[in-house]
């Protein structure tokens, strides 16, 4: 008999103009000791289901229809006070960001004891003993000592362990985890997932894990519910749903997940998502502005050659130079990128991979080392004309599609700015024509030009970013995590677009990502970074088959196994 039973749940958010239905007629159930995954892309309504279950829907959301039963008792119609007593006691909750989930001004001890004594009739000493025990269970070393510390004295992964301990304070029957590992690095993510699986079995709790990540689903869950725009489209045993998806949305979603194990030429298009299948208007590159006058001289040797780049950030300022303290973000990093290839940099957060991009594009000035682009030294360029000429050849695509476009400018002005600034067109009408063509070419259409960025979705904004980057007619493109903020189906489209553009324009790319699977699909050669150092550089297939550095091996071992995933689409694509 299932512990948590959700029947016909419909959650609505009424607004001034209409009623937004965040989830529609959702049916789910979880058994004790089992893990249910709720997966979907942004806007799917998966968090809404979790929040509704625990009675913490954000204003003005309300349960319009349906029932929620906990161990046979109906809980969706409880009064607020009874619902509050249920929270933490019978249903525990884990949130996404461990850095903000804990009260920064109270010790871990205080927060644990407070929660334990709220739900269990224990004395202060007993509660403390229980708290230490809990910390021990979630894998915090020296719990006796660390319990009296404040949250800021713990790292992100350790804080998430504390959050889990807090959720388990009163031995709840159900734990709901909303994107529990999204904010963490892969290595920490793997540890936390392992911990959750262990605790679920040991304590026999029913767990609901809400995530966008198919890897988490494959690694962790027994059952999976796939949601799309508020609807539950598919529900069943994880192995079965992942291996033989029935619903077309699930099929395309799984197909779009980058595979670490095989290399594909292009990602399968997720045709279920509306608005994605827009045919691009092809322009003839050989006669078009974009392709014409690409008068770059071919270079002998590497197009970009980086040697011993060192970058330091001031962490403690002082009027006296000797008292200043620095953080070394890059420690003698060097590599070459040849014309026409895609070079990948992979590493966890803080590894310095984005810093490399910013040094190359001139956003940061390195403390030491050289970077030669097409034979010219970059870091010591002084002459304004030369600097601008260099800027024009090298453009960058950023991670966050929501902050990479100026929200006060129209798309036309955003894309036209580099053209006008570098005086790449003589008349205004010519500029407008180029902007229109660029927007068409990245798959947006001319109508986009008159709109503001906020009228577009994340994927569309990233297309605008790409159009802006192309507007200087660059030959070198730096892509800094270009898809990590996007849903997986959109990611596939953007990556395909980048590949197409590279083929057409002969672009050279530096591609930065934390995601090994994406890196494998995009890159010819890969560099692995950690703590500001470049550990190894290899050909892609070589890196995956015979990794040299121990850290690379570790990273590879941490990749979620996708073995259970359906390959049907993939095989079609390969065929």
């Amino acid at each position: 008999m299932s512990i948590l039973d959700i029947r016909g749940l419909t959650v609505q958010f009424p607004s001034r103009k209409d009623v937004f239905t965040a989830s529609r007629n959702v049916n789910l159930s979880v058994d004790a000791g089992k893990i249910l995954g709720v997966v979907g892309e942004s806007g799917a309504g998966k968090s809404t289901v979790g929040n509704a279950t625990i009675g913490l829907l954000e204003h003005p959301g309300r349960i319009a229809e349906g029932e929620i039963h906990l161990d046979g008792q109906r809980i969706d119609n409880l009064d607020p006070e009874s619902m509050r007593k249920l929270r933490g006691k019978r249903i525990g909750m884990i949130f996404q960001d461990p850095l903000t989930s804990l009260d920064p001004l109270q010790t871990i001890e205080f927060q644990l004891i407070e929660t334990i004594r709220l739900h269990l009739p224990l004395s202060k000493e007993e509660a403390r003993a229980r708290a230490v025990d809990l910390l021990n269970q979630v894998g915090i070393p020296n719990p006796e000592e660390r319990i009296s510390q404040y949250p800021h004295q713990f790292s992100g992964g350790m804080r998430q362990r504390v959050v889990i301990a807090l959720a388990l304070c009163a031995d709840p029957e159900v734990v709901i985890a909303d994107e529990p590992t999204t904010a963490l690095d892969v290595s920490i993510q793997a540890q936390i997932l392992k911990l959750m699986k262990r605790l679920c079995e040991e304590k026999n709790v029913a767990m609901v894990v809400i995530t966008h990540d198919m890897g988490v689903i494959a690694d962790l869950t027994d059952h999976v519910a796939v949601m799309y725009r508020g609807d539950l489209v598919e529900y069943g045993e994880s192995r079965q749903v992942l291996g033989a998806p029935k619903h077309p949305y699930t099929q395309s979603l799984i197909a779009a997940v980058p595979r670490p194990d095989v290399k594909v030429h292009r990602f399968p298009q997720v045709d279920y998502i509306e608005g994605s299948a827009k045919p691009f208007k092809q322009i003839d590159i050989s006669t078009h502005w974009l392709g014409k006058a690409r008068d770059y001289k071919p270079v002998d040797g590497p197009l970009l050659s980086v040697k011993d780049i060192t970058m330091k950030f001031l962490t403690k300022d002082s009027w006296f130079p000797k008292n200043r303290e620095y953080f070394t973000a890059l420690d003698k990093v060097g590599f070459d990128i040849y014309a026409g290839e895609t070079f990948g940099l992979v590493g966890e957060s803080g590894s310095g991979k984005s810093t490399v991009a910013r040094v190359i594009t001139g956003l940061y000035h390195p403390a030491g080392g050289t970077a030669h682009f097409a034979g010219q030294e970059l870091t010591s360029l002084k002459d304004k004309k030369q600097v601008l000429a260099m800027r024009r050849q090298m453009q960058m695509i950023f991670q966050d599609p929501f902050s990479s476009l100026n929200s006060r400018m129209r798309v036309r002005d955003i894309v036209a700015e580099p053209i006008k600034f570098h005086k790449l067109a003589s008349t205004n009408s010519e500029v407008n024509q180029i902007v229109d063509d660029l927007l068409e070419h990245v798959g947006l259409g001319v109508a986009a030009a008159a709109k503001f960025p906020h009228e577009f979705s994340g994927g569309q904004r990233q297309r605008i970013s790409i159009a802006r980057a192309l507007a200087t007619r660059p030959r070198f493109l730096v892509c800094d995590e270009p898809t990590s903020a996007l849903d997986v189906s959109i990611q596939a489209q953007i990556l395909n677009l980048l590949k197409d553009l590279q083929d057409e324009l002969g672009l050279t790319m530096l591609f930065i990502s934390h995601d090994l699977a994406v890196i494998r699909q995009m890159c010819n050669r890969i560099g692995v970074m950690r703590h500001g150092q470049l550990l190894e550089v290899s050909e892609t297939e070589e890196l995956f088959d015979t990794p040299k550095h121990a850290y690379t091996k570790e990273l590879l071992s941490l990749m979620p196994s996708m073995e259970g995933l359906s390959r049907s689409n993939l095989e079609e694509e390969l065929a």
Partner: protein, 320 residues
């Protein structure tokens, strides 16, 4: 990647290109404005008072500066409805026989002029310094912010008094009429720039690290163009709120200084001057000379403050 907020962000472009007017008419801002009756009332009041002050020579029954129209025999006549009142003087007259209603309208003109000018001065100074401080950073930032910090040591009113005192020390009391208003504007404006600078600096620090600014730098656009074209439009929202609330504060400060006798000269009475004059007659029962200008001042400031309050809530998406 989370879907906490029930927006339809993943969907296609919601509306095809609509005209700016249609967008404005359908905007949440306008709706929140119209649904708050008190805000609409405040807006109408503010607008009405401003127009009345602007067109005071046309609206007011008398010209209080025209000695030919004043007779000392008409001094201290009570407002309509009281014994000894005179139908010509709706709100009564002051100690020199000037019509109080006309005095209030002309006084409001000066109050508003000083208010607007000093807010404009403070805003331009504060926004520029805040933008530079936030965008350039480093030592420049440290110096500007230290100056701001030292200045915060002195409340606006004290600073304005000091500047006024220094000005008297330098210029002497000759030609007070001509420079008093400008000194007043300068001293009020100077005492308010810090708030703009700190706010703009804060927003600039946030905007500077956003990727659209980095994109502009990668294109090669020089810093000052980025500051003006990209950063400035994105930091103006909070500035608008501060400016509105500051207008109210500037009007109060001007009135206070004039009340204390260091503001505008009494030949060009502002609302504060009128209250100061009336204060002397409070004990002898001629309350209207102080109370009516005071009420006019309070209504004006209250209306502006209500607008500022609404604007702050409406522009803060988190509160909705």
């Amino acid at each position: 990647m989370t879907d906490n907020t029930p927006t339809v962000s993943g969907s296609e472009v919601s509306a095809a290109s609509r005209s700016a007017l249609a967008r404005f008419l359908d905007s949440d801002l306008l709706h929140s404005f119209l649904s708050s009756k008190i805000t609409v009332l405040a807006a109408i009041t503010t607008l009405g008072l401003m127009l009345a002050a602007l067109f005071a020579p046309l609206v007011a029954p008398f010209n209080p500066f025209d000695l030919a129209q004043i007779s000392i025999l008409d001094a201290r006549i009570p407002p309509i409805g009281m014994e000894w009142s005179d139908p010509r003087y709706l709100l009564g007259t002051d100690d020199q026989g000037r019509d109080l209603l006309s005095g209030i309208l002309y006084g409001m003109r000066i109050s508003l002029a000083v208010g607007f000018l000093s807010v404009a001065f403070a805003a331009v100074l504060g926004i520029s310094l805040g933008l530079i401080s936030g965008y350039v950073g480093g030592r420049t930032d440290a110096i500007i912010m230290r100056i701001a910090e030292v200045q915060l040591t002195f409340p606006a009113i004290l600073l304005a008094l000091l500047i006024d005192g220094i000005a008297s020390g330098i210029f002497g009391n000759i030609d007070r009429e001509t420079w008093a208003i400008w000194i007043l504007t300068f001293s009020i404006g100077l005492s308010f720039w810090v708030q703009y600078a700190r706010t703009v600096r804060g927003s600039t620090l946030v905007e500077k690290n956003k990727e659209y600014v980095q994109a502009a730098r990668v294109i090669g656009i020089p810093a000052w163009i980025i500051m003006i074209r990209h950063v400035l439009p994105n930091v103006l929202g909070p500035v608008l709120v501060i400016a509105t609330i500051n207008l109210a504060l500037a009007i109060i400060t001007e009135a206070t200084l004039s009340f204390l006798g260091v503001g505008v000269p009494s030949t060009q009475p502002s609302l504060g001057t009128l209250i100061r004059i009336g204060n002397d007659f409070l004990f002898s029962g001629e309350w209207w000379i102080a109370i009516f200008p005071g009420l006019a001042l309070a209504i004006l400031v209250l209306a502006v403050n209500l607008l500022g309050d609404w604007l702050r809530d409406a522009l803060n998406p988190k509160l909705r």
